[in-house]
Symmetry: C2
Subunit: 425 residues, 2 copies
């Protein structure tokens, strides 16, 4: 496929869990790799809710991609936004540049989906990027400041009501973390309000939260949330979002801060591949992760719809993305040896969700548990996997500090940068 004079060129789009694992696996192999991302960092998304709730700083959960890959000599990192993919010409376009590839791995993930109600995006931001997290942190902290300042009781109650729409892991983690902040961190900081009276409502349209978990763990998660004072409303939908509040089952709830954790839509790049996509925009990949007719193109992670044995696609979680990233890299090395790409098998080690201090649920397939043990397991796994030694130590230290003092250090309300100019160029 490649001329003998040069190494085959692998282009990876996206430096998330899938793309980064693929790149590492190809490090110092007989290929030339270009990883393209529109940010300069790899984001540890599972801890994004900790930034949104002021426990961690953006830099604690983000590692510069260049730094992570600096030890591989066959690797180039490009800060750019891919505008188009031409699978027939085997090129990727970044607007000002055309990049030719021999092999392509597309790993650009997903954003939120508002199910046709895009006007809700500014009313109820989702949580996918560092910018999202900083914006949510700002709204949370400003709500308490606003409540402290005003005297109108109804407006004050609306400011101290927080609605989280979607009871998957992100929604559960956000609800628990907001309840904790209000009950412990901010409890004594105000004079005119008692933050521990804040109302946190978790809204889930399924009959139970964490519906991907076993029923017993869903029930335990609900109980643990309620112990923190969270109102858990299942089997109901949020509708009619406005700046003043939202409707749940016909009841209007005055509520200043709303957070969206309900749905995902795959990155738009998936549609440029010409392969079939599912309703959420995910690319229907072959069992070996390639797309029909183009074995040199693979799609992985949240952008891929991989038909699982049970009929359901694999979930959009980091273990799937990482395993697919390594597999896609291996496929390329096999193809270079003249072999065929192989079928991908997902090794499901289980899943966990944290709710708060000493509160979590863990489903390790053969064993389910909840409470403190699950929380410690969650902590252990997340520290182990955090990219980069420095981040690991910094996060550990801040968690230890928060655990013993109930204090959260990153309670900064930073401003919009609207008035600021873009860099000279």
């Amino acid at each position: 496929m490649a001329s003998p004079a040069r190494k085959p060129h692998v282009v990876i789009i996206g430096g998330g869990f899938g793309g980064l694992e693929a790149a590492k696996k190809l490090g110092n192999e007989p290929v030339q790799v270009t990883l393209i991302d529109r940010t300069n960092y790899h984001l540890f998304q599972p801890l994004l809710y900790e930034v949104a709730t002021a426990a961690l700083s953006p830099a604690d959960i983000a590692a510069p991609i260049r730094g992570v890959l600096t030890k591989y000599t066959n690797m180039e990192v490009m800060l750019a936004e891919v505008q188009g993919i031409n699978v027939a010409a085997k090129t990727v376009s970044t607007g000002d540049q055309q990049i030719a590839y021999d092999y392509l791995i597309v790993a650009t993930g997903a954003r939120h989906s508002y199910f046709g109600n895009d006007q809700w995006e500014t009313l109820a931001p989702g949580l996918k990027s560092l910018e999202d997290a900083v914006e949510i942190r700002r709204r949370l902290l400003l709500a308490f400041e606003y409540a402290e300042r005003i005297t109108d009781e109804a407006a004050r109650n609306a400011a101290m009501t927080f609605a989280i729409i979607g009871g998957g892991p992100t929604g559960v983690e956000m609800a628990g973390a907001i309840a904790e902040i209000a009950r412990y961190t901010l409890a004594k900081d105000f004079h005119h309000i008692d933050p521990s009276h804040a109302r946190v409502i978790l809204i889930e349209s399924n009959e139970r939260v964490l519906s991907a978990f076993p029923e017993k763990l869903s029930a335990s998660a609900k109980k643990q949330l309620e112990d923190l004072g969270v109102e858990v409303r299942t089997g109901v939908r949020a509708s009619n979002l406005t700046t003043e509040g939202l409707e749940v089952n016909g009841e209007f709830i005055p509520c200043r801060v709303k957070i969206w954790a309900a749905g995902n839509a795959a990155s738009g790049l998936g549609k440029m591949l010409g392969a079939p996509v599912d309703r959420a925009g995910r690319v229907m990949v072959n069992p070996d992760l390639t797309i029909p007719d183009y074995p040199e193109v693979q799609v992985i992670g949240d952008l891929a719809h991989f038909a699982h044995q049970k009929g359901e696609p694999l979930p959009g979680v980091s273990p799937v993305a990482m395993q697919q990233g390594r597999h896609a890299a291996r496929n390329i090395l096999w193809m270079l040896e003249g072999r065929k790409p192989q079928r991908f098998w997902y090794w499901d080690k289980g899943s966990m969700a944290t709710i708060g201090r000493n509160k979590a649920v863990a489903d390790l397939n053969i064993v389910h548990f909840s409470g403190r043990l699950a929380w410690l397991a969650w902590l252990f796994v997340h520290i182990i996997f955090l990219v980069g030694f420095r981040n690991r130590v910094a996060v550990l230290l801040q968690w230890a500090w928060a655990y013993f003092t109930f204090n959260k250090g990153a309670r900064l309300i930073t401003r919009n940068f609207q008035a600021e100019a873009r860099p000279a160029s």
Copy 2:
């Protein structure tokens, strides 16, 4: 002054070094205190350049004001921007609220001054706020990314040229830190450029850098900067700033990133007091920190012009602000006892400026030194004074990590939030 039924009300505007010290000194005294700030955090400004150069995160050098003052029961913190002061009526206006005071302390500090060239502000941002620091960090890191991507040699050189205008402590610290990042942190991260060839130019209109320091230390600072590869140009002025570059002494230097560290202008609130102000907008205070005719109003910190024995006003540094803050608080307690406010005396313990790893200068009045010893002294003092235990440990850890690895952890290019909505209200 106050009715016997209620405690006298002290309003402090500004939660910087001066305002915060005044508030602490009044903690649990027989007064009611309201501290008003437009941000929710106290900023440790002397380390702002470390955020701008990706060594520390915003939260490492900022402490929520509510958290710092939470232990005092006579204190209220208000997140608001003061719009006006009426010294005759003894009220402060925040737009939607009028707040009456018995005693007022104004401590709103300074912003940059572009000496009549306000159009330079977007071309060469200054370094006063967290937003400034994050913007400068973004420009620095993007410049290297841009240089890596383009092939035009002239444009690449311009992207890798960094001009710092102003050779006071901030300018010297920025120049040293940028040179270090280029030489050590980023050295191996790129393929098409060698960041260690970056050109860092420090421009100072005085005949020497750090002109407030003894001549010997200025010379040492220059030497230490040059050891890091910084071009130090003294006795010359920068002019004609454009996106493409700037002029120094008639010579045009193509240069993408420019940073302003040359001048300060006092906060506009000073002019609302009716007292005389100097050319930089600082309020000419009486020797006891009060303003003429209004002994209940005191001005402290960077906003105050305090005539020193030498004729020069006291410099705009944190020790002055902190000592004045404590003195202003004491004045109020004295006045409550029917005594007169007392004259303020500044106890000058000396000053320091850091240049880089093992590089600094220290002027402790009776003894001057530079190099590693000065650097260690600088490190020690800054850690001791960082507000809040958690920040201290986090900063120490990150410095230790950076020292041993030459790595800097906070190399994030975060986006403008232009597209994002303001919070629902």
